[in-house]
């Protein structure tokens, strides 16, 4: 009589295969989770004091901290206050105000925005995020719309 071992062989191969697979998953799952950085919960800040009116000359701009992101505060030649996110919508660089051209400029890839934050030249695909500016006496208060 011949013993038919194929069923048992298949069963053992299956056990070995799944066992090996499960071990690999048990090793790599924590590694992949480990290298993915944890989400840091940001303190949602809705308004911030960006500076003093007297410290900002006409036709100039300055970077201020809005939480952990940079913002751009501009006092136009006419004295109007404007605030935007300073993060260029193209590739994440930080923009600056160009007084001689009276526009917002990103040095990284020559992106240009006008004083309403509209992308008017170069590669940026979207306008800058605009913030609401209020003055409280001397202090300039910027808040998210």
């Amino acid at each position: 009589m011949e013993l038919d071992n194929t069923g048992r062989r298949r069963f053992l191969n299956y056990l070995l295969g799944t066992g090996f697979g499960a071990t690999l998953i048990a090793i790599f799952y924590p590694i992949i989770k480990f290298i993915t950085p944890p989400q840091v919960i940001e303190a949602t800040q809705n308004s911030v004091t960006a500076g003093k009116v007297s410290e900002l000359a006409l036709n100039s701009g300055t970077i201020f901290k809005f939480g952990n992101k940079p913002g751009l505060l501009i006092r136009s030649a006419a004295g109007e206050l404007k605030a935007f996110s300073a993060v260029c919508t193209h590739l994440d660089c930080i923009v600056q105000y160009e007084p001689d051209k009276r526009q917002i400029w990103c040095a990284c890839h020559n992106g240009q925005y006008n004083l309403s934050g509209q992308n008017v030249g170069g590669p940026p695909p979207r306008p800058l995020e605009e913030y609401v500016v209020n003055t409280r006496g001397e202090e300039i208060v910027v808040s998210k719309a």
Partner: protein, 353 residues
């Protein structure tokens, strides 16, 4: 105990004799394109300079946002010959990328990737990507302004790729923004992950080159080609090149010491005139020229995907260009020339811009 006994003792245990036999058998074809055979070895030599100077820098470098810039400053101002070691590391990195490009294009134009050397080509393209990854991760480590923005832009480029982009960006940055976490991560890539992978692939690449021997350009196949012994004849010529390279590195490091610049500041505008290292310049310039919108897609997404497709094409070149078809060979030569011209032209425009 004389030298011969020592040699025999070692040969018994290490099999040096058989390795020496392989080295004795190795020959280099001598023809009008033989000059291009030197650039692989030159790249390897510059890589070994990187390993040595890199380990030296590691003794003083401190990888955190608070200390990185200051520790590099310490290396170049206080540590004896620190300026030299750092400058040689930076210059050698750049020369290595340059010789790597020359090596790759010479292999390409001589069709040396054809059967049976497809895997040699694949491992070579991997080494090119690794070299660029070394350059990109190492660039951030001094934590200066230029490096900070280069890393922001570079990681954001990964981030705009559809679907996989966002998780990739967070993986590279160690969070949502470029911070001290990014610096630590890049340090880990630069001194541990990339060297480990590179060692394995360089080993494979060199082993394959030994296995198949030097490729002879298709135009010279079948002709009676002179040969030269690799050891010592060709090796000594290699050595002359390496000595010249050391001279060039010393001269460059002494005459043009690598700048450190200003410390990175997450709340400062990108400085005017900012541009990446020369080997990224053609891509940088392309991103500058591309319009904001192509149809309804963001321009930069299209540009980046185009470069990704280009990279993929580079990988599969040996499977597209098969031997025995002179017309196809000509097509590949023309494509190669166009790519070289594009890279050279946009690099020059990038510098003039």
């Amino acid at each position: 105990m004389n030298a011969e006994t020592v040699r025999l003792w070692l040969d018994d245990r290490l099999g040096i004799g058989s390795i020496a036999a392989v080295a004795r058998k190795k020959e280099i074809p001598v023809h009008r394109h033989s000059i291009w055979y030197y650039f692989g070895g030159m790249t390897l030599f510059l890589f070994s300079v990187q390993v040595v100077t890199g380990i030296l820098l590691l003794l003083y470098y401190r990888p955190s946002a608070e200390t990185a810039f200051e520790s590099v400053q310490f290396i170049i101002t206080e540590v004896k010959f620190g300026w030299l070691i750092r400058s040689v590391h930076s210059w050698s990195a750049n020369l290595m990328i340059a010789t790597l490009f020359i090596h790759m294009f010479s292999v390409y134009f001589m069709s040396a990737y054809r059967r049976p050397r497809e895997m040699t080509w694949l491992s070579g393209v991997m080494l090119l990507l690794l070299a660029v990854a070394f350059g990109f991760s190492g660039y951030l480590l001094p934590w200066n302004k230029l490096a900070f923005f280069a890393t922001k832009v570079g990681t954001e480029i990964a981030g705009v790729i559809p679907l996989v982009g966002r998780p990739m960006l967070r993986f590279l940055r160690g969070g949502d923004d470029v911070t001290g976490a990014t610096l630590t991560r890049f340090f880990g890539f630069h001194v541990a992950v990339l060297p480990a992978i590179t060692t394995v692939i360089i080993g494979t690449h060199l082993m394959l080159v030994q296995m198949h021997g030097m490729s002879v350009p298709p135009g010279l196949e079948g002709q009676n080609i002179k040969k030269m012994k690799f050891f010592p004849n060709f090796f000594l010529r290699d050595l002359i090149g390496w000595v010249l390279a050391i001279g060039a590195l010393a001269a460059l490091a002494a005459l043009f010491p690598w700048e450190l610049g200003e410390k990175a500041d997450a709340f400062a505008s990108a400085p005017a005139g900012i541009r990446p290292e020369w080997y990224f310049l053609f891509m940088f310039q392309t991103l500058k020229l591309i319009p904001p919108k192509i149809l309804s897609f963001d321009g930069e997404v299209i540009g980046i995907l185009a470069f990704a497709v280009g990279g993929l094409m580079l990988f599969i070149v040996p499977f597209l260009d098969k031997p025995g078809n002179p017309r196809r060979k000509r097509v590949f030569t023309v494509i190669g020339v166009i790519v070289v011209l594009y890279i050279v032209a946009l690099t020059i425009i990038g510098y003039l811009d």
